[in-house]
């Protein structure tokens, strides 16, 4: 029976993050203090209760965790020091695992060894490619450029889209949410808008500077992707593109550097505990921006031919990022968060249609 309690779920969840599910006695302070929770989509109390009771299906159908931007107020006000904010973080990792049909996301979240082996294999593969290409700069750069395009295409069609559809299946189809058709269309603009701005997080009382930093990283990252993959930044002669590339690279590594410092300082609730996936995400994003910046700098100063190792490093970082971290790591929160808002709106429209809202 689906609604059978399962004491093992919380034991499993413990592998996905810090915090103890035993501490919570369900007073609901966390939900009361949260500035993002709404009447029909309540969190974090409900999610924590589902974990304590081991109601896996209930947890998997929940979009609440993605609507949380972790301001940390719930953790600050929790009377039992149960750290609901961090528990929600763990739930997000767990949900990523649930959505991922390959099972690799779960494996990499739980096992640092598996992740290390993955990184090592990618590194060897890139060096092998370099060897095959005779470590020739131009050939390698051309390969790198093609590689990026194919990988993006493959990831989207084979992993990310099926996973998002899985999320849709769990949260909407399986729950028999009957939203009106037009809400699928109107909600779509919300989806896009939120995906790029994440402006819901402004409701959190964490301050707009953190939002701005995050926004600039997102924009920087997307533009970097665009300039390198579609405008061929490393090989272009167009001055505008070159300068744009420099600026977005700079945005990415400067602000991710600040994020890394933040995590090292552990001053805010969000940064008090960092899972290895959090570290890898910010560090690799930083390396991504930094190596891209230096590679283009070396191209502009004609030093790249004698310093191919630099491009090799960039290629390794990009390959590890693209093959491991994007599909199976924290990167997916970029999509899941936006789609969660979309699905939440569908649920609300369905309730409205039934006259329950």
């Amino acid at each position: 029976m689906s609604n059978r309690v399962n004491p093992d779920l919380k034991k499993e969840l413990r592998k996905f993050g810090e915090g103890d599910w035993n501490d919570c006695f369900n007073c609901g302070n966390c939900t009361a203090i949260c500035s993002l929770t709404e009447k029909d989509i309540l969190f974090p109390r409900k999610e924590i209760r589902a974990i304590q009771m081991g109601l896996k299906n209930k947890l998997a159908s929940s979009v609440g965790p993605w609507l949380c931007y972790y301001c940390g107020e719930c953790s600050e006000t929790c009377p039992r020091d149960a750290n609901p904010g961090e528990l929600m973080m763990a739930v997000r990792r767990y949900l990523t695992k649930i959505y991922d049909w390959t099972g690799l996301a779960g494996l990499f979240y739980r096992s640092k060894l598996a992740l290390f082996i993955g990184f090592l294999l990618v590194l060897i593969a890139v060096i092998a490619v370099g060897y095959v290409k005779g470590f020739e700069t131009e050939a390698l750069m051309e390969f790198g450029h093609l590689f990026e395009q194919y990988v993006i295409l493959a990831l989207f069609t084979l992993i990310i889209l099926p996973n998002i559809f899985h999320m849709f299946w769990l949260t909407i189809v399986k729950q028999k949410v009957k939203a009106p058709v037009f809400s699928y269309i109107t909600g779509f603009w919300h989806l896009i808008w939120n995906m790029f701005t994440q402006n819901r997080s402004l409701k959190c009382e964490t301050g707009s500077f953190r939002w701005l930093e995050h926004f600039l990283i997102v924009i920087g990252y997307l533009l970097l992707l665009f300039t390198t993959v579609f405008l061929n930044w490393f090989s272009t002669e167009n001055n505008f593109i070159i300068w744009l590339g420099y600026i977005v690279c700079g945005l990415v590594f400067v602000f991710t550097f600040d994020f890394i410092i933040d995590r090292l300082r552990k001053k805010r609730e969000v940064t008090k505990f960092s899972h290895h996936s959090d570290w890898l995400f910010v560090i690799w994003l930083f390396l991504l921006g930094l190596t891209a910046f230096i590679v283009r700098l070396f191209v502009d100063t004609n030093l790249i031919d004698n310093n191919l190792w630099l491009y090799m490093i960039h290629l390794i970082v990009i390959a590890q990022w693209g093959i491991l971290l994007v599909p199976f790591g924290k990167w997916t929160h970029f999509l899941y968060r936006s789609f969660a808002i979309y699905f939440a709106n569908l649920k609300k429209s369905a309730l409205k249609r039934e006259g329950k809202l």
């Binding site: 029976m1 609604n3 059978r4 309690v5 004491p7 919380k10 034991k11 103890d20 035993n22 501490d23 006695f25 369900n26 409900k46 209760r49 589902a50 304590q52 009771m53 081991g54 109601l55 209930k58």
Partner: protein
């Protein structure tokens, strides 16, 4: 007959009375009444200058009756009686009119309030006119004490009294000492062994020179009054022993609730549904297992069985929540890989160390599931073949709002504490009362929690209401200390506002004997009249109102006094005549 000289004093009680009642008008009006020698009003009658006012007037004007119109007699009657005594007057020549609680605090029209106050004061003046001096009486105390019940409460009280060098008779119905404590393995919240604690006390008790122990013994009727009780004990239903003692401690303990009446739980039908006492036995034997002898993988503990539910008992049994947590602690160490479920209504963790115990226990990977105790009890059913467990507990889980199923191999029902089935007989034997749920009633629920309305009888432990071991011992030792204080005094004052039979008027109908709740009235065959034992009489006055000839006089509340008070009350109405 001496001349009646009455002094009337109207208190302002600061502004409490004076704002709503025209105290000046009241005292002026009273001056007009016959026998009223003096009528005054003063800011605070209960203050030292207020009392001195009365004392000086008594001496100066030779007053012999006093009326104070002030607050409730339940607050200051004793204060003013003392003042009368200090002035050399009998303290019972006094009456109070309650013009604060019954007038100024509850009415809003000053004119009407003043008229009502006047009528109450006239009533009091009329009543006090017929008051008579009454003398204090005291009786000697027999230093021996009878303790009924050999559980932890009875034993603790017995040891304290016996240690002081006074005799104790300890009567236990069964053949074994220790009561329910002896059936418990560990105790919450510190997980001490109950066995060790009780064994130590029992050893000391058995060898104590001042304690006489009667096992397998029943109490029949107890006769007498505080300081001088007597009874006949029936040992093994054959041998009889007569005892005399001055005080009684009732420590008859509890009975555990039988859950077979709760259909949802299937106790008695499903072999692996057991009560907390049965589980306690498993723990004592060191073997937690199902009926088939297997180690249980899933243990479900259901709280509030028979407690806090209008169909069974409405009260909380107070110890089950913590006992249930104790079980999960013991289970966690005995079966580290088992799944433990606490199915509770509210987690109550009051008392020293208990909240800490809850916090610490809740961290041991126990699943807490809440149910709606008032409307929907969990249901236990047999599991199917695929379920991989013995039983399934269905719960409408309150915190998540989900209907859920919990796998179980062993279900422990935390049964409530009930009053003992023989509580009624004992109450009858010693002359104390029970409240609606058969626990004994204390003299005052807050201010006098171990004494009863029968002087010399004390109630301790769970016969007074559900409680844990430390609370029982505190109560037992408090009662023991109260008794020792009385023994030390050697004598005790008894009620003087008792009934009295005028033998010349009594026709010997014996109606009064039928109605007396204290068997304080006996019949003198020779004189053919009823006789009141004034030591047994509590002064309720029931006999007085039943007496067809008016031979019985209830002191301080005589017919004359009350009828006259009625006249006084009615002499001033709200309507201007």
């Amino acid at each position: 007959m001496e001349e009646k000289r009455i002094g009337v004093y109207v208190c302002w009680c600061g502004n409490n009375i004076a704002l709503m009642v025209d105290v000046e008008a009241v005292s002026e009006e009273m001056k007009k009444l016959p026998n009223v020698v003096i009528a005054k009003n003063y800011k605070y009658m209960c203050s030292d200058p207020g009392q001195d006012l009365i004392i000086n007037d008594i001496k100066e004007h030779n007053l012999n009756r006093i009326v104070v119109a002030a607050c409730s007699p339940r607050i200051h009657e004793l204060t003013f009686r003392k003042a009368l005594e200090n002035a050399g007057l009998n303290p019972y020549m006094f009456e109070m009119a309650n013009i604060r609680e019954q007038v100024s605090w509850v009415h809003t029209n000053r004119e009407e309030a003043t008229r009502k106050a006047k009528s109450l004061v006239v009533g009091a003046i009329n009543k006090v006119s017929f008051h008579e001096p009454l003398d204090k009486r005291s009786v000697d105390i027999d230093p021996a004490t009878l303790i009924i019940g050999g559980g932890i409460s009875g034993i603790s009280a017995a040891l304290l009294i016996a240690d002081s060098g006074n005799k104790v008779y300890l009567v236990e119905k069964t053949g074994k000492l220790g009561g329910h404590t002896a059936n418990v393995d560990l105790t919450f919240p510190y997980l001490y062994s109950a066995q060790q604690m009780i064994d130590f006390k029992i050893k000391r008790l058995i060898n104590h020179p001042n304690i006489e122990l009667f096992l397998d013994t029943q109490i029949e009727e107890i006769f007498g009054y505080v300081g001088n009780f007597e009874t006949t004990l029936k040992i093994n239903t054959a041998e009889k022993v007569e005892l005399k003692f001055g005080n009684i401690i009732v420590a008859t303990g509890l009975k555990t609730f039988d859950p077979s009446g709760i259909e949802e739980y299937g106790y008695g039908k499903l072999p692996d549904v057991i009560t907390s006492s049965e589980f306690e036995k498993m723990l004592l034997h060191g073997k937690v297992q199902t009926k088939e002898g297997k180690v249980p993988k899933n243990v479900v503990i259901i709280h509030c069985v028979g407690s806090r539910n209008k169909n069974y008992h409405e009260y909380c049994s107070r110890t089950c929540c913590m006992t249930a947590l104790k079980y999960s602690n013991q289970l966690r160490s005995a079966l580290p890989h088992s799944n433990i479920f606490q199915v509770y209504a509210d987690m109550r963790a009051f008392g020293k160390g208990c909240e800490e115990f809850y916090t610490q226990s809740s961290r041991k990977d126990i699943m807490f599931l809440m149910f709606d105790q008032q409307n929907e009890l969990p249901k236990i059913r047999e599991a199917g073949k695929k379920d991989n467990c013995n039983l399934i507990v269905e719960i409408n889980e309150k915190l998540s709002g989900e209907p859920i199923e919990v796998p179980a191999d062993l279900v422990i029902l935390m049964t409530s504490m009930e009053a003992h089935e023989e509580a009624k007989n004992i109450a009858h034997a010693v002359g104390i009362s029970m409240c609606g749920n058969d626990f004994y009633i204390e003299k005052h629920p807050k201010l006098d929690p171990v004494a009863t309305t029968t002087d010399g009888v004390y109630i301790v432990g769970t016969c007074q209401g559900p409680k844990d071991i430390p609370d029982s011992i505190s109560q037992a030792e408090a009662a023991a200390a109260r008794i020792l204080a009385i023994i030390l005094q050697g004598s005790v004052h008894v009620e003087v506002t008792t009934a009295f039979v005028n033998e010349e008027v009594c026709c010997g109908c014996q109606t009064c004997i039928c109605v007396c709740p204290y068997t304080a009235i006996s019949f003198d065959e020779e004189k053919n009249v009823s006789v009141v034992n004034e030591i047994l009489c509590k002064g309720c006055g029931t006999c007085g109102s039943a007496c067809p000839t008016g031979a019985i006089r209830c002191r301080h509340f005589t017919d004359k006094q009350i009828l006259s008070q009625i006249e006084g009350l009615m002499s001033i109405t709200l309507e201007e005549v």
